[in-house]
């Protein structure tokens, strides 16, 4: 492992690959920001010039912040440069609250919940997928795959509502508060929401892990390993499992995106004060500046996460380093 880590440091194809990805990521973020800007300005009844919805005080703030009295190109310039400085603007409905404040306050909550969900999903996916593959076409496989298909067929909000219902019933039955029904606090508050949030991704990863384990299982090098006299358990642990887990890393990027989106729903149902819930509220109230700031933030976050995941994969899988951009 150390040897190829060392080797990647001598800027090779991987460095160029990462550079290229970084560039296209930045371009994507810029595009998102620009699209947001123009749509917000060119809609009929420009939200930023619609007087009736906004109090005079906020109005003044907005004008100062966005330079609304200036011509459009200048406004765009102000917008982009402040974004570059990491300033995402101010709220349209809440006095004196900047989007940065909102993100700083609520994003850590979402991030914590999301991270725990990813951990659940990945561990669960690997374990269940490996079990299913190992018992291919026998009953554990059938049970797991049935659970998977059921899980991916039920919308996450149904799971959220259901689990909340179950917690209430559990608390009623035991007479004590075994788990909190909603809200935010310690790990106890995160447990069920994170599990629900990770469930869909876990099912997906289980399926992927199973397929990838089976694929690895039919690879020539597994035959080689068996021809060397390794027991089937040794083959499984030292050759199959290891190689089967690798492809899972490639889908962690989309998985993070799915969990971020899923977070909106879960935070809403469990009344968790995360950025997702705040975002949905902003969307429902058409708090344009919060929508603009938060979406650009989300966009940048996701682009960076996907990039990060790709880089990690490049580092972990020695095959990728030299290949550069692999086609799907």
């Amino acid at each position: 492992m150390q040897t190829f880590l060392a080797k990647t440091r001598q800027a090779g194809p991987l460095a160029r690959y990462i550079g290229g990805r970084l560039l296209s990521g930045l371009f994507t973020i810029w595009f998102i920001a620009t699209a947001t800007f123009f749509v917000m300005h060119w809609v009929p009844g420009d939200p930023l010039s619609d007087e009736k919805a906004v109090s005079a005080e906020i109005r003044q703030n907005l004008e100062a912040r966005y330079g609304l009295d200036k011509p459009l190109p200048q406004q765009y310039w102000i917008y982009i440069t402040s974004m570059l400085k990491g300033d995402f603007g101010i709220s349209y409905t809440q006095k004196n609250r900047s989007v940065n404040d909102i993100i700083a306050e609520h994003f850590p909550v979402s991030a914590m919940l999301g991270a725990l969900a990813i951990v659940f999903a990945t561990l669960g996916g690997i374990v269940w997928g490996a079990i299913a593959a190992r018992f291919r076409n026998r009953w554990p496989d059938a049970v797991i795959m049935f659970a998977v298909i059921l899980t991916v067929s039920v919308p996450s909000f149904v799971f959220a509502a259901l689990s909340q219902h179950l917690i209430i019933k559990l608390n009623q039955a035991t007479g004590v508060s075994v788990l909190p029904v909603a809200g935010w606090g310690g790990l106890r508050h995160m447990l069920v929401p994170a599990l629900v949030l990770g469930l869909g991704t876990m099912a997906y990863l289980t399926r992927l892990m199973r397929a990838s384990t089976l694929e690895v299982g039919s690879a020539d090098y597994i035959k080689t390993a068996r021809s060397k006299g390794l027991s089937s358990l040794q083959v499984f642990l030292h050759h199959e499992l290891r190689n089967a887990v690798l492809p899972l890393i490639t889908v962690l990027g989309p998985a993070i995106a799915a969990i971020t989106t899923g977070g909106f729903v879960v935070e809403l149902i469990f009344t968790i004060p995360g950025l997702g819930r705040y975002f949905v509220t902003a969307v429902q109230q058409l708090d344009y500046t919060v929508i603009m700031g938060t979406t650009v933030f989300y966009g940048a976050f996701l682009v960076l996460m996907v990039l990060l995941v790709d880089i990690v994969y490049g580092l972990v899988d020695p095959r990728i380093r030299l290949q550069g951009r692999a086609d799907a």
Partner: protein
């Protein structure tokens, strides 16, 4: 079993279950291999060469697989052994080399660690000792810069280099039998030549027997002491190498030889195909499998399966042309 027999295969049959029913991939293989000698298994693609050798060492793992016959290796029937006993033989007493060295190595582990793994499980070596020994083995297999190779990944080596490493790995524990399944098919001509030469050298110094699968008659001529020709899952002819090239008994062998350039053996010439195609192994014909393509086919060939019959000079052939009744009938006809 005679003392000087390393491997004796008799009546080996393999039926592989698929969605559409059983593929009768191997339908009766018999041969013996003496220590330190080379037996070549030849036949066109899909005739069951790989399936038979993999079945011999228990590498076929499809659930529902049906095996028949016996494979005596050092007096023990490999088909009857328990998994643990078999594992102690595989890699230690029998080494295997496969066709495509790049896919035969685990792409995410270094060459050294994969060779050392064999040494660790059979000889109980430590990881460090295993790597030292791996380096020595790579050197023995004439791989350049063995110290560096030990720490490299498969994709960093060329096909020829990998095949050397593969041979080193197969020979790590000093096996009595090396099974090489088309070890040179995926390589270019010069590299093929080097690998074959290496195998010959190693056989001289180590004295192991080689079961060499190939469909290249040039390779056969160069390497083998004995040749077994397979067609549609059956052994159709077995003979010493000189006898086979000089006087092939089976029409299929003759067709094979006709499709190969004469005189100077030119190794890069691909084997031409014989018109027609082999029978469907889902429902093998009741008569001779070669019947539809055979220029000497007779009425009986279609209805009855010929048996393995002596064809002179210790050779055997599965063809009605060798049947005593045929010979008698022809003799009478000539009168």
């Amino acid at each position: 079993m005679p003392e000087d027999t390393l491997l004796e295969v008799s009546g080996l049959g393999v039926d592989i279950p698929t969605h559409g029913g059983y593929v009768h991939a191997v339908r009766g293989i018999d041969f013996t291999l003496r220590p330190g000698t080379t037996m070549a298994l030849v036949g066109e693609s899909g005739c069951g060469k790989s399936v038979s050798v993999q079945a011999m060492v228990g590498l076929l793992a499809t659930p529902g697989l049906r095996l028949s016959g016996s494979v005596l290796f050092q007096q023990r029937d490999l088909l009857q052994l328990e998994q643990g006993q078999l594992n102690r033989i595989r890699g230690a007493r029998i080494g295997m080399v496969f066709q495509d060295p790049l896919s035969a190595f685990n792409p995410t582990r270094t060459i050294g660690s994969q060779i050392a793994e064999t040494l660790r499980i059979h000889k109980g070596m430590s990881k460090a000792d295993g790597l030292v020994e791996a380096r020595r083995l790579l050197d023995e297999c004439r791989l350049s810069e063995p110290t560096k190779r030990v720490a490299q990944y498969p994709f960093e080596l060329s096909g020829g280099m990998l095949q050397r490493a593969m041979i080193a790995m197969a020979l790590a524990c000093g096996p009595e039998l090396l099974i090489a399944d088309e070890p040179t098919t995926a390589l270019d001509v010069t590299t093929q030549d080097q690998i074959l030469w290496l195998l010959q050298q190693l056989q001289q110094t180590r004295g192991m027997a080689i079961l060499l699968i190939t469909h290249d008659l040039a390779v056969v001529a160069r390497m083998a002491d004995e040749v077994a020709v397979m067609y549609a899952g059956q052994l159709v002819e077995k003979a010493g190498v000189e006898r086979l090239f000089a006087a092939p008994a089976h029409p299929y062998t003759r067709a094979l030889l006709r499709a190969t350039p004469h005189g100077e053996m030119i190794t890069d010439q691909p084997l031409e195909t014989i018109p027609g195609s082999p029978p469907d192994l889902f429902a093998p014909p009741q008569g001779c499998g070669f019947y539809p393509r055979c220029s000497e086919a007779m009425r009986i060939c279609r209805q009855r399966m010929p048996e393995i019959l002596p064809a002179g000079d210790a050779a055997v052939s599965r063809c009605w042309l060798q049947h005593p009744d045929y010979l008698a009938a022809r003799g009478a006809g000539n009168d």
